[in-house]
Symmetry: C2
Subunit: 231 residues, 2 copies
Amino acid sequence: MAEIEEFFKSAFSVDNVIFGFDQVDLKVILIRRGASPFKDKWALPGDLVYPNEDLDVAAARVLAELVDLRGVYLEQVQAFGAVDRHPLGRVITVAYYSLIKIQDDVLHASSWAEVARWHSIQDALELDLAFDHRTILEACFERLQRRVKTQPVGFELLPVAFTLTELQQLYEAILGVPMDKRNFRKKILAMNILVDLNRLQEGVAHRPAKLYQFDPDRYEALTKDGFTFQI
Amino acid sequence: MAEIEEFFKSAFSVDNVIFGFDQVDLKVILIRRGASPFKDKWALPGDLVYPNEDLDVAAARVLAELVDLRGVYLEQVQAFGAVDRHPLGRVITVAYYSLIKIQDDVLHASSWAEVARWHSIQDALELDLAFDHRTILEACFERLQRRVKTQPVGFELLPVAFTLTELQQLYEAILGVPMDKRNFRKKILAMNILVDLNRLQEGVAHRPAKLYQFDPDRYEALTKDGFTFQI
DNA sequence: GCAAAAGTGTTTACAGTACACCCATGG
DNA sequence: CCATGGGTGTACTGTAAACACTTTTGC
């Protein structure tokens, strides 16, 4: 049986799986570690939680140190608490994932910037990551795959204005399955949660597609009436 | 910015929502607190995590101190980490829920026993619980409601041998909705995951019902073939 | 005029839903 | 013989799935 002081010799951290979509692949940000332990291994962005800082705030801070964006989707996945998961002491970590809109300048010019890189989810899952970060990454990816089927969170990964083909490609990239174009469009448009912007794509060497925008208010209203999003 | 030692002045705990089913109501175990803070309030069973103890093990220990059962379903839900959630210091808690088969002697003759009581989930959700335990209870209940629709975990709450009516009443109690008897039976039996035990109920003042048992091996095999459980 | 992706409907199959009566047992 | 819950089938409806061609634009 441990003395009460013993319980306070542990620390907690947050790790954040930051997802983005570059019109082709689902991607995550990894950090090349510059120090021991696991020097030179890729790792998830994370940090210890400050003593007077809420868990969610710590996760948002980790994100903000890497990425210059506001109002980003952030969801806790679960805690990882194996005794030996950190070689230097007892550290329980709480995993989060974020969904961001990739833009050219999205990776901050911070001290992290030079060691942070986007990796496709497939590549990242095959890397020998630091700590138990592979397990964490898998858990977060599976959570995203489930979430995206029943909640309208996919839009967080796309520009505000997007085409239906882009939306379909996003779902195909996340779920790893091809979808039927006509059925996909029928289903999404029937939900009545997209606004037709009456604008067209520009600069493409083919017939330009119509641009749409997700309407959160309409979604909320429908939800109150018993509607459930379902891909 | 805090000194590194500051990070180690926090503790973590686990709290466990233990669900049972008494053929009528979905129930949870609550503990009447005997000490400050929140003396005399109802609370979830929980404890600090030992320095050399895995999170999952700590949750199982909390359960084992209350209930005399082996091989119980246990699932982590999420961490709760608001700075002020514990009045005496920084304590992050990780919430779990367990599903157990209620038997007459299930509540241990431990020091806890005299302060531990089963409450119906409806009653428990209306109580003024200690700490943020109401939020935790809500999160665990919602998780159970979602889980039970797509995973065959309901059987953990029933005796090994059960009738289809008992199974239906369980789902109605968890989800809070009435179901159609014929459709429910059709759906469950079509899944082919139950074994007909060729035994009948005894001691009932009406036509005795057939007894069934869940077959985990058959479920596993079907799952590998793409079958998904769905209520 | 050619390459490239946008856009569009119909048919078919399956799963969900609604619904009412007879049966077996204990008391 | 009566009260209680057990057990069963069918018709209807709506959603998911399969599937191919025409249109618009840039070059």
